[in-house]
Symmetry: C2
Subunit: 564 residues, 2 copies
């Protein structure tokens, strides 16, 4: 049944609610089960936002910390959910299920009943009692030790994560807790992904979703890292997984339980409706964008880019972030890769490196600076600027897995203009995506379509560059609410409206198919530029490259000079 | 006798006049013979400036052309010279000699009596009849053929010019004339350096100065390139040197003749006073800055940097611009090297790549943008920005001799600020100078002191960087009129007031000795940054470097894309 047909028929009013918990706010969307039509939505900003300077008590935080307050998440349930329902024009009787997705790895210590330690009176001034947000980066030394030891011991799971676990994940953050605040660690009865904690609050049952268990907690082939590994890491830490992490697992799209009376009061929904297993914002977007078949790579493009793609077999792709069985949708191997910096490099450039006259001119034209630079850049032929950029301003997640790399520009002349560098930066991120695609294909995983979600899909010029550079048809998620729509799809499956996520995605997902096609002439013109990008990549990226280590040495020099 | 003693004594009023012919104007300075005191000066701007769009007749010029009108130079004699005399408070009876220096290679076609072809009625609309200014770059294809053929034939002189003659020099410009306008070439009876033409106009005698004959007309060991070489270049061109270039030679500081009655009327000076042999602006500055002994390297730092240094023996320094016996001062071997872009890279960066808020803030502080960025950059410790720049935005003159290279920045992060890149650019030009110094030393020519002249010496922070990076005491020319003072010194020698340029330099030159000394801690901190610069230099500069050819390929891509 098509969307129009369902609307016309008007016979099936059933709807679900999807809630996307982002970094600064939560967004609830009411979605019709029959066709995925978005009927109403509401946003609620977290009262405490991100704690990166001080606790709510005023106690200061060290550099690189990023915490949150769990009560803020419940506020979203109390505020955004009922508002979205009102906006939809439906009643609670129409809503058959609810599902959520979360940033990850965002993790908190709780008691066995789910009470966050930060809500226990004598722990309110202890930073380690709070939610550690995904971008809490203070556990890097712990991650470094974990990775070194994993390679030393030849742990089999390390190759499933491109050879490196991130400092953002559960193990590094847990080790930091263990070593820096043993008392809070001792009182931690559960080390819970926020993605699962919110579901626990909705249905009263704690189940671990397969996605974060695999990508963020190193669960591979049914096993977490061994107690022996943990003991070698830090004596006393060996029971971390067995005591605090292990929990019954649940497939994505599964029913975690029924909505509790309490949660029904918060949300204005009926008690007992299906609550879906928790999920992650990027991964949950795949079915929303109809990008769940093997070969359909979803790129969620914002300040950074997250790539997720299914395949029907296991392969080890050098430099990927992780591969998890059932990690995106059940029955397939879910692969994740990423680019550390994309939109944030564009933003940095326009903020710092563009002469004021461009801002003035953009104002005169009634344009934003990005738009003005894009228009100027779009007039050029491919390669006309003579520049190549390495897009490593905040490191390289895939395929080099090295956050200590840095950005490079080559080809500058006295005639180089801001729009030239801007275009070269846009192109460099497309080259980075092409490198990732080529790595997947070299590992035996064909990539046949690129599906784009996220804020950057609005830049049509950028999208055309990606189509041309990757020589792939480029489709767009045709909804501004990607993750919330993806959650809604999972709610529909959990409520039994569809047999599985694939069927629900087919009916409810929204994709603008092949919105951009590669232009053969431009694609051919990009090849020699990409070849130079690849040469620089291979010379400066790996330690054994011709200029390998140069960027690390510059960081060391910077560090020794006392820079932050 | 010290300057003060001479002033106090007040017994020797004799003075000379030095005139510096720059790119846009001529400057006359009256200088006391006894101590070099500058008594009066005046500037006259050329009426026609630089012709790079059209002839005075309105006829348009192609891209890369840069011409001048010879009558503009005579205007300087008529205007600036008498004004400077008035400003000095002296009378014509006090002036015992006159000398001039010129940009080079700036060259014009004339009749046998010195009449410029552009002044002949039927040639006024012919671009090739005009003065070709040093920065006329339309003869690059001709230079490329000259260099290829010289290497093919194993011409001995090519190694005295770092393996490449410049498109700016007499031979390439002459070949362009020969091939593009055979009629004007046929009517060219002399192919004259403007440096010699102006002296011809002053004293009525045409002598070629050793300096431009060597550096710009390939005169080595008393010989110009052979007729066989010229014939192989272009049939019919074999008599270029014998018919149009050859002329009696004269040493720098020599007397070319006496001031003619006509030139005396123009200048307001006495007929018959000594007119010195012509000279070049950079080279003539060496005695003004007391940088004439072997090991004293003069760096004239402006939009680009020209390095000149004497040595007592011949060596072949890879990548130098040229080495000429007696080329800077008689009796020594004069070496020249250069950096294609210095101040112009600073200017390009501030013009294009600095956010408007910096301009606003500089305004609030009552500072120029350069000054504001310098102040911000100066607060940093060495290496704190974590950046390295290759200063090749307009190519690399020494030691790579490659104008098709381009600029590079590495180490960029999302925290990089404009003052960081600005400082890294300043440093990169100091690294470029260090590379040149190291090349000289590796060839057996010690460099013991760096003496700076030119507009950039006002930036004290930049000067300290150069002292630290090169680990050399850095002296400054202590006069704002470097070339004109240098000319005045030559005038004094030509008039017989001193036995030679060395004695005149000692008495009349003005140097702030060791104005900046290297700080050992900062010098040590720069070493690892310079090491990375050198690695990038060697990887990207030579064709056989690890990334050799990359910048050329980017230029080719740009060219194919139809960019100018």
């Amino acid at each position: 049944m098509t969307v129009d047909a369902a609307r016309t028929a008007g016979t099936d009013h059933r709807a679900v609610i999807g809630i996307d918990f982002g970094t600064l706010s939560g967004r609830a969307v009411v979605v019709r089960v029959a066709d995925g039509a978005e009927l109403g939505d509401a946003v609620h900003e977290y009262s405490h936002g991100v704690l990166d300077q001080a606790l709510p008590t005023g106690d200061p935080l060290p550099h690189d910390w990023a915490l949150q307050v769990p009560a803020d998440y419940l506020e979203v349930l109390r505020s955004a959910a009922p508002k979205a329902l009102v906006a939809s024009g439906l009643t609670q009787d129409d809503i058959i299920g609810i599902a959520t997705d979360f940033t990850a790895c965002t993790v908190l210590p709780t008691l066995a009943d789910g009470t966050p330690l930060s809500e226990i009176a004598d722990l309110r001034r202890r930073p380690h009692a709070y939610v550690k947000l995904w971008k809490h980066h203070a556990a890097q030394p712990h991650a470094d030790r974990i990775n070194a030891l994993a390679h030393e011991r030849g742990e089999p799971w390390i190759s499933r994560y491109g050879g490196k676990l991130s400092s953002e994940w559960e193990l590094a953050k847990g080790l930091q807790l263990f070593e820096e605040d043993p008392e809070v660690y001792a009182r931690t009865e559960r080390w819970v992904e926020a993605a699962d904690w919110i579901v626990w609050k909705l249905c009263g049952r704690y189940v671990r979703n397969i996605c974060t268990a695999g990508y963020k907690a190193v669960l591979q082939d049914g096993r977490y890292p061994s107690p022996e590994f943990l003991a070698a890491l830090a004596p006393g830490f060996e029971t971390f997984f067995t005591d605090k992490v292990m929990q019954p697992l649940a497939q994505l799209g599964g029913r975690a339980g029924g909505l509790t009376e309490e949660a029904a009061r918060w949300t204005g929904l009926r008690p007992g409706i299906a609550v879906a297993v928790g999920n992650v914002d990027a991964h949950v977007t795949s079915p929303a964008a109809k990008a769940v078949a093997p070969g359909q790579m979803l790129a969620v493009m914002g300040t950074s880019t997250c790539h997720v793609m299914n395949a029907d077999h296991l392969a080890e792709v050098p430099g990927m972030c992780g591969v998890v069985r059932d990690g995106i949708t059940p029955g397939l191997w879910g692969y994740e890769a990423g680019q550390s910096g994309v939109g944030d490099i564009f933003a940095w450039f326009t903020r710092t490196s563009v002469a004021g006259e461009y801002v003035t001119r953009a104002d005169e034209l009634g344009l934003g600076l990005h738009e003005h630079l894009t228009n100027l850049a779009a007039r050029q032929a491919v390669g006309e600027h003579g520049l190549v950029v390495l897009d490593w301003h905040s490191g390289n997640r895939s395929v080099l897995v090295d956050h200590e790399l840095s950005g490079l520009v080559v080809g500058l002349t006295l005639a180089t203009r801001p729009e030239d560098v801007y275009r070269a930066i846009l192109e460099s991120t497309a080259f980075g995506t092409r490198k990732i695609i080529e790595s997947f294909e070299a590992a035996g995983l064909p990539v046949t379509e690129l599906v784009v979600a996220g804020g950057l899909l609005k830049n049509r010029f950028l999208m055309q560059i990606y189509a041309d550079v990757t020589r792939r048809p480029l489709s767009l998620l045709a909804s501004p609410q990607g993750p919330a729509l993806g959650s809604a799809i999972h709610a529909a499956v959990a409520a039994g409206a569809y047999p599985d996520v694939y069927a629900a995605s087919e009916a409810m997902g929204r994709k603008q198919e092949a919105a951009f096609l590669p232009d053969p002439k431009r694609a051919a013109a990009y090849d020699p530029l990409y070849a130079e990008y690849a040469r620089l990549h291979d010379a400066l990226g790996p330690d054994d490259g011709a200029l390998g280590g140069l960027m690390h040495r510059l960081r060391d020099i910077k560090g020794r000079a006392g820079a932050k």
